[in-house]
Amino acid sequence: MLAFLIKRIGSAILVMLAVAFLAFLIFAVAGDPVEMMVNEQATQADRDALRERLGLDQPFLVQYFTFVINAAQGEFGISYQTQRDVMSLIASRLPATLELVFIASMLSLIVGIPLGVITAIHRGKWFSEGLQFLSIFGVSLPSFVIAILLILVFSVWLGWAPGFGRGETVALGWWTTGLLTPSGRNAIILPAIALALYEITLVMRIVRAEMLEVLRSDFVKFARARGVPRRIIHYRHALRNCLMPVATLTAMNFGTLIAFALVTETVFQWPGMGLLFIQAVLNLDFPIMAAYLVIISAIFVTLNTLVDIIYAVIDPRLRQEKV
């Protein structure tokens, strides 16, 4: 087990080093950041001074090592555009994104599991076939399309919920939350739905497939034969068997959701990390791009590694195959 742990964590660290290298490569490409940072009256001397201050006059490899060492300490330099510390910029945006992703994940479980159960139990009935058909739209429509449609209908035409921004927030230490104010709670509704829809359909499909499998199994047939009530079979036995894959999916997709939130955040102008990243991409603000890539990949790799380790704890056979 220890050997497995060391190998798994070691390979995660190697992957992160490679990602950090990719992140650094971003710096090596076109676009002169100095031009973006200076104002229009700047002289050549101002430009050279800035270049030196940013370390852009250093050779490539020196810049790379500086980058890796700093990144490991959460130090990603100064944003070219706002001249502010990248890490504190990202940290100030982190709560908005995590809150959105968390609510969307909850939503996908609360809505997805019952839908999956219903479509499995009532297989063949018109409404479960209809839901099954609708779920194709859930996986087909890109999140920005869903977001735009939600804004158009519920915000522009009906005026039920804001389609824009995060509402009023309350600061709890360094964390800011919109969940404690009415305008903040209203503002999260549409973006959370837009982000959750894909996940809802995934959860629904998995629960349905697992339920169908369990319902076909011998032990359910046996329970039925013994006269155990249907509801107890469905909810106590069958559903419990689906929870493990659903929990795995939710955990592993948490990272994907954070990444995909950038699209939702762009449409809703949600002030999270993703919006910061997209603005950085459009303005060639390399330090933010690089930091975001490293942070998201770190979350991603950590979640995957944790899931692998937990699985290995539960099922020792996997320890051999995974390595």
Binding site: G165, G167, P271, L282
Partner: protein
């Protein structure tokens, strides 16, 4: 300039508001934080504009951009290199110290210190001599005409306060040099600083002893930086801020539609225009037809500026024929005759010049000027209908600037606001002058007009205001007639305020002046 006036609310609401003690605090949600409380520490016009609420200069601009007395009540030019200022009496700093000529001398020494980042904002200053408590003489470069313009941006500190706090040398944000004035302020202005918590808030409270008669009715200002435009707009809509100096233009419709919020839109001092490469050949090696005036005229005649204003700028820009905005000294109505939109005339001119089908690339930025992407996209079909073969190269500023400065752009979008000096000398010396030495730094097209250069040189040392402006007008007129740039419009700028704000002064330099702001009582 534009003011927002609203009839007061009904009597009941008025009575309710009057009982609330903090009703006259203006909550200002800004696009960004200030960088320091020391206005000498960074050449940042936003921070300096904010600190205008706390500090005064010797002179300042009135709502029509005339230079009027502030801490100086009068001035005279003694000789070519000497200016004498008479200072206002009975002025006190926020800490109670009286204002004297020593304070001016100390401030000027501090701002012109070799380590001062703001040194360049007072380029001609040599030295100052205290004559008596309320008289000071400044020695400047011979014949320098723009001293007063420069002084509008130089705040006056208290000499004793600087000495007591060991702050005679300026701080420097860029180099990371901090000092007592970075987080503390002691000015003579309409408001004094209670505290600045970086990235969080600045609290200002009214200075009851301000030397000027207060036009505002505020008891204080709560300044909060909200960098995301969306959040800022949402904060305004939800009533958690009263004012923002940066409302995104594309959100104006939803702000207008929202109850309780009023967008305030006017034109920037920035004139948007199109510059032409004037080298022998274009970057692709073909002959540069833009050296023929008729081709530049054809360009100007093919642009439908009014449709651009109505459709792309949603009616908020001002079509112009001049290279500077009306508020900029040097502007005249004669030079402000827009080239008529006339595709047939443009086609004829191209034909005459033998340039029909002349192909070139228009260099634009995604994020440079208001709605620039839509603007440039609309321009291409207009040009091509008149007989050009134009294509668009559009990218972020960081990618476009090197192409422009290296002369590989054929035609480029260009905006110039003539700030901070607020005088057409700015565009003349930096843009229109031939590129030599420190002049013509933004002359990316390598044009050279000796008669314009000569006029600029004479204006540079002309102390008589009217004569100098006359020369600058003449140079601008030549530049306009020769179509060095094809002018398009003054672009819109947008602020927004809640219904609580009944009166706010908006000027084209985009600096809020809340000592002129009134809120519902």
């Amino acid at each position: 300039m534009k003011t927002l006036k609203k009839s007061l609310l009904g009597g009941v609401a008025l009575g309710l508001l009057a009982t609330s003690a903090s009703a006259e605090v203006l909550r200002w949600g800004a696009a960004r934080d200030i960088v320091s409380l020391d206005s000498y520490s960074y050449g940042d016009s936003f921070t300096i504009g904010f600190l205008d609420h706390v500090y005064d200069g010797l002179v300042r601009y009135d709502p029509d951009f005339n230079i009027v007395p502030a801490l100086a009540t009068d001035w005279e030019i003694v000789d070519d290199t000497t200016w004498r200022f008479t200072l206002r009496e009975g002025v006190t700093f926020h800490n109670g110290a009286p204002f004297t000529a020593e304070d001016v001398a100390a401030s000027l020494a501090r701002v012109s210190h070799p380590n001062s980042p703001l040194r360049g904002n007072l380029p001609a200053f040599q030295s100052a001599e205290v004559i008596d408590d309320h008289t000071i003489e400044m020695t400047v470069d011979a014949g320098y005409p723009l001293l007063l313009n420069d002084l509008t941006n130089i705040h006056i500190f208290n000499a004793q306060w600087l000495i007591d706090n060991d702050a005679m040398e300026p701080t420097d944000v860029g180099a990371g040099v901090e000092g007592y004035p970075t987080f503390n302020a002691n000015g003579t202005g309409p408001f004094s600083v209670v505290e600045w918590v970086p990235d969080s808030n600045v609290t200002l409270v009214v200075n009851e002893d301000w030397w000027d008669e207060a036009q505002h009715n505020l008891t204080g200002i709560e300044f909060t930086p909200i960098s995301s435009a969306a959040t800022r707009v949402a904060a305004l809509l939800s009533g958690s801020i009263d004012f923002t100096e940066n409302a995104p233009l594309q959100d104006l419709m939803r702000l207008e539609a929202a109850p309780g919020v009023n967008p305030v839109v006017t034109q920037d001092l920035r004139t948007v225009m199109f510059g032409f490469n004037r080298r022998e050949t274009l970057s692709n090696g073909q002959e540069n037809m833009f050296n023929d005036l008729r081709v530049r005229q054809a360009f100007a005649h093919s642009i439908d500026a009014e449709s651009i204003r109505d459709v792309i700028m949603q009616g908020n820009s001002r079509v112009t024929g001049a290279l500077v905005a009306p508020d900029i000294p040097g502007y005249t109505e004669e030079m402000d005759q827009p080239y008529a939109f006339d595709p047939d005339a443009a086609a004829a001119l191209l034909e005459e010049a033998g340039a029909t089908g002349f192909s070139f690339t228009l260099n634009c930025m995604n994020n440079g000027y208001v709605n620039e992407e839509e603007l440039c996209n609309a321009l291409i079909p207009m040009l091509n209908r008149a007989g050009f073969d134009a294509s668009l190269d559009i990218a972020e500023r960081a990618q476009q600037t090197p192409k422009r400065t290296s002369g590989s752009a054929d035609v480029w979008s260009f905006g110039w606001a003539n700030l901070p000096m607020l005088d057409s000398y700015s565009i003349l010396i930096q843009v229109l002058h031939s590129n030599e030495g420190n002049s013509g730094v933004f002359n990316w097209g390598a044009w050279s007009y000796p008669e314009i250069d000569a006029l600029i040189q004479s204006a540079a040392t002309e102390l008589d205001y009217d004569t100098r402006i006359g020369m600058q007008t003449e140079a601008l007129q030549i530049a306009r007639d020769e179509l060095i740039f094809a002018p398009l419009h003054e672009q819109p700028m947008a602020w927004a305020a809640s219904d609580r704000v009944v009166d706010v002064l908006q000027q084209g330099d985009n600096k809020p002046r809340h000592w002129m702001t009134r809120v519902a009582e």
